[in-house]
Symmetry: C2
Subunit: 379 residues, 2 copies
């Protein structure tokens, strides 16, 4: 029996008017947990919004309070780093549907239904990437910012960047969608569905109401993380890291966990469940699956027609979850929309995960793009 | 609660002397379930052994008795087909550790331990691909065949072909390892480990003794099949088949199973558990993970040094589970061993599954190789 991870205090704004979602449900009030780094200048022109990926959070450049580990992009965001917090006012918010303080399945339900003290659980409404972005827009307005110097994000964060640029072009001077695509592919949906099936199959999930007895569906969530984790790495990275190296034993011993890659994956699964909520995982993976920028807009190019936003698209050569071909298709659509766009494919064998790792060429390119945008805006 | 699939009668030989495995355990007696097609000629020179993949069985060219579906290679093996049963005597055996009648976890244990009537379950010893091949060798000898005209197999079947050629070169005139590799990669081990974790996480697995209460760990096994199934298809095939097509509903409705690819995967999972045993799945995936032809032989080339066997290696361009690069490495090793080898990469977008599907170029090439070998042997 595994207990849920501790609920800690998060900095947040609570908006009484709430938000009406794509599924036509209104959630009110709406809580958005967020962190900021650096100072907003007098012209309010140096704000950079960072959007996190599926299992990320708002603690982009500081210690994560649950795990005690460094912020997930602390190699990129900070004083003197490419996203320079001495120069920019950096904002990062926990996504709607997340589990680090923003309104989501792990928060008390506010629709008047259920018993007193009930959490949302699986009654939390279905959210989309656009809903997440709408919530962030409210936060940004609350902070008194009309236009963001830049919106930056990788993976699901990149999907949010694209929705920002498509929905609020006047509010996004520069946009950096990284290691993402204009829609979620059939293969990616399939991998997500395996993860969801594993969670649903865990009897401790209890139809989503596991919180009522203070446990979590640890085994199902762990399997979900294991399969997802494989997709974040490249075959080459797995081979380089582990190959067929044995765990402990000096020869094939016909025991469990003989290969290092197995212990590594199990470790990934078991640590993940101590920091992430299963119902949030269901909610957010579904939002990613629904993501299709062309939907209701005719085409990706149509989504960006007439935009003044400058784009920086980056992909990683060994990323097979969001392969370079998807970024190229995005660039072609941006070109068709006559948008200003630069594109870089980083050569690396680290797979999708590379966007989080020390990739000097990527960091230089992104830093350069951001500096250029800042110069244009005379920040 | 899901019941086990029906135990049907299978044709088999039972060898009282049994077999000593790589793990030093002797299993006796040893049962090998098998099927044959066509007639052995007077010279006993026209026998073709077909090795099945992870979830395959001996019913290669006839109705599978549990599912009622056609044999898994009935498009390739039969009268007038590339593996022509009018001309060749075709043998196919259920692998050691399987669940279609050969000695395996689903059979009564024969080590004198446990209660009367106990099945092997997870007490079944760990087996290797080489053990599977040793069992097949005994069957082939039992059938009075000294030398096989050819050994053919795809995926795990290809691994068996390689072990056959390495262990018994004098007994293999021609060998066709298809869509395989000389060892299992870290990524493939990782995917297998996810499947095993899903089975272990299912409380119905009951530490492997699910058979004692007449149920099966259906949900865990289903998740294992779902993730494996994704690896059998290419991204392109999934996109072509399903793309982002919705299931039933005409718009995104925020329900479960909205995408066709999800329903398809779930269907794959739920039908699989009605024909395959979870403990066999654990046993056989582990055997694949252990597979490393160079192990104890120095190198792949050393495994084939001095061989007279003719090799036909085939890969499929969109196969990312056993990519062409692995087949090329195998061909290089065979070249280094001065072996006779031909190689073909089939251009297809169907992924690993292509080796089971109607791929005319593959069928022509394999048929040609087999005919050439038969001519050389004057069959």
């Amino acid at each position: 029996m595994v207990a849920p991870f501790p609920q800690v205090e998060h900095q947040r704004v609570v908006l009484p008017e709430g938000l009406t979602l794509d599924c036509n449900v209104t959630i009110a009030p709406l809580a958005i947990a967020y962190r900021t780094y650096g100072r907003l200048n007098a012209a309010r022109s140096n704000a950079v919004l960072i959007c996190h990926a599926l299992t990320g959070d708002q603690y982009v450049a500081e210690t994560q309070p649950v795990t005690g580990k460094p912020g997930w992009w602390s190699n990129l965001v900070g004083p003197g780093l490419p996203v320079d917090t001495d120069r920019f006012f950096v904002i990062c918010a926990n996504v709607l549907g997340g589990c680090m303080g923003s309104t989501g399945p792990r928060e008390p339900r506010t629709d008047g239904k259920g018993a007193p003290g009930d959490l949302w659980g699986t009654d939390f409404p279905t959210v989309t990437i656009r809903d997440m972005v709408r919530a962030q827009k409210k936060l940004v307005e609350q902070l008194g910012i009309e236009r963001l110097l830049a919106v930056i994000g990788g993976s699901m964060g990149g999907m949010q960047v694209l929705e920002w640029a498509a929905e609020y072009p006047e509010a996004v001077f520069a946009a950096a969608p990284i290691a993402c695509a204009a829609h979620h592919s059939a293969q990616n949906i399939a991998f997500h569905e395996v993860g969801r099936a594993a969670i649903h199959a865990d009897p401790a999930w209890r139809g989503g109401r596991y919180w009522t007895d203070g446990t979590i569906p640890a085994q199902g969530l762990s399997v979900a993380r294991m399969v997802a984790h494989i997709t974040y790495l490249s075959e080459a990275a797995l081979t380089r890291k582990f190959g067929r190296k044995l765990q402990g034993a000096s020869a094939v011993t016909f025991l469990e966990d003989v290969f290092q890659v197995e212990s590594y994956l199990r470790h990934q699964g078991s640590t993940f469940v101590r920091r992430f909520d299963a119902n949030s995982y269901l909610t957010i993976t579904r939002a990613m699956d629904y993501f299709d920028l062309a939907n209701e807009r005719g085409s990706v190019a149509a989504a960006f027609r007439g935009t003044d936003t400058r784009f920086f698209v980056a992909s990683f050569s060994s990323d097979w979850l969001f392969p370079t071909s998807e970024s190229r298709a995005l660039v072609r659509a941006l070109n068709a929309a006559a948008a200003r766009v630069s594109f870089v494919e980083i050569t690396t064998d680290k797979g999708h995960d590379a966007f989080l790792l020390d990739e000097p060429e990527f960091h230089r390119a992104l830093g350069g793009f951001l500096s250029g945008a800042a110069r244009e805006l005379r920040v």
